[in-house]
Amino acid sequence: MARKPRAKQDRSLVRIHAIRQWLLTHGRVARSSGWRLLAQPGSSLLTAFVIAVSLLLPALLFALNSNLTQLLAEFQQDPQISLYLQNTLTETEGLQVSEDLLSRPDIATVDFISSAQGLLEFSAASGLGEVLLQLPSNPLPATILVTPVSEEAALIDALATELGLHPAVALVQIDRLWRQRLQAVSRLISVAGSGLAVIVVLGLFVIVGNTIKLAIENRRMEISVIKLVGGTDSYIARPFLYSGLFYDSVGGLLATVLQLIVLYLVNIPLRDLLKLYDSAFVLQGFDLSGAMLLILAGTSIGWVAALIASLRHIWSLEP
């Protein structure tokens, strides 16, 4: 009776021992392939640097895009409709129109800007005050800025069309065109970023694959001997997988550092520019999760590329 639990314990001890052995083996292989890379610091670093630059390009594009998206969100808060009134309308009539509009349930706020007020703001903002004063009459129409209740594009469009039919309104403009353009640009950047990412992944496969292939060629003799004394393909591939892993994790780390530098350099002039626009916008693009993602992406690409390359070449190497 007493022997049974003992046997069970022995089995689990054996299993623990096997796992420990497995971890030790991996640790040893990882260390030795690490040392092998450190033995040629120049070429190893160069490979890692090429990988870093490849990773950096799509990473920067994605950073640019996430900034644009954030910028868009800041301006997206209240879409407005500008109604330019007929020049023939007096200021009192204009005010009356805006008050009528405010009573509509689908309009949240109205802001009446008389033509005189508009001229004042324009000359102040444009610096053309002197020139404008020379004009015989005020060329600017009175304007009503309408903020719709709904933020839905279709409803806003419908409202704008309806307001355009008002006899006092000469022209309707939805403050959305430039935002749509920006959105289109953002979409374009995102597509370009994805395309570039695909190309970079393929490129990394080639870079890592080729590096591993050369390493395998250099150790042909060793691989042949290991095969002769009973080494499995995965045993032979293991050190190469670790070197692929190391190359790309160091490459990912380097890419993160480079990205940090680029963003820092861009941030200085950008801050000045944004101050001019009175924006509270803060440059995004460097955070821990992004950096982790970059390193993780690089590392996993490196590992998979090394796996494919090593298995392919080790398979074909027969004693």
């Binding site: 052995q21 030790l24 290991i226 095969k227 002769l228 004394v229 009973g230 499995t232 027969e318 004693p319």
Partner: protein, 230 residues
């Protein structure tokens, strides 16, 4: 342990390397394979190791049908066989110790157990004092003995040797054969390819003679003849 049954081996270009070979090596048996160079001695060993595939017949090694062995199983098959290569096949980027430890490392041995076994194997071939050296610093005979230590370190059930005494003087050759005999005496089957006629005739073991890929003679062991010195 090793059974050849009408085994033939043809090269890709149609040339026959081995034709209709049949013999059996039992547990604890030591046999020489001899013949002129190109007679098929090395091919015979390669078939056993599943480096080459036979084109006909049946080859059973240690209970494994080598003709049908999968790529996945091949390494485990080779781990049961210790092989001494003609050109040593030692790795020059590591020490003698690490070369001998390689089969154990591959098999996932505990490093402490492995170290004990490596030292025992090196002691057996008289090279324990050179474990820290690079094999390139050793003489041809010493390199051959390192190869032997590596072949036996895993305590295989079968040992194959391709010209193991090729680079050795008669005295060292006899010493190598004594190491092989020790293994034979504990039940290991050995197949030794050699064209060293004087060595073969002095030992009176079973001798298979190949000629142009055919087994032309199977001289049984002379039970009462003189043996290598103990």
């Amino acid at each position: 342990m090793i059974t050849f049954d009408k085994v033939s081996m043809r090269y890709g270009d149609g040339g026959a390397a081995l034709t209709n070979i049949s013999f059996e090596i039992k547990k604890g048996e030591l046999a020489f394979v001899t013949g002129h160079s190109g007679a098929g001695k090395s091919t015979l060993l390669k078939l056993i190791l599943a480096i080459e595939k036979s084109s006909g017949g049946q080859l059973i090694v240690n209970g494994v049908n080598v003709n049908r062995i999968t790529r996945r199983r091949t390494p485990y098959h080779r781990r049961q066989i210790g092989t001494v290569f003609q050109d040593h096949q030692l790795l020059l980027d590591r020490t003698v110790f690490d070369n001998v430890a390689l089969p154990l490392e591959i098999a996932g041995f505990d490093p402490r157990d492995a170290a004990r076994r490596v030292r025992a194997a090196l002691d057996k071939v008289g090279l324990l004092h050179k474990e820290r050296l690079n094999p390139a610093k050793l003489s041809g005979g010493e390199q051959q003995r390192v190869g032997i230590a590596r072949a036996v370190v895993n305590r295989p059930r079968i040992i194959l040797a391709d010209e193991p005494t090729g680079n050795l003087d008669p005295e060292l050759s006899a010493e190598v054969m004594r190491v092989f005999e020790q293994f034979k005496n504990v039940g290991v089957s050995l197949l030794v390819a050699s064209h060293d006629a004087s060595l073969i005739t002095s030992l009176h073991y079973r001798t298979l003679t190949l000629d142009h890929g055919r087994l032309v003679a199977d001289q049984p062991e002379l039970k009462h003849g003189p043996q290598a010195s103990r």
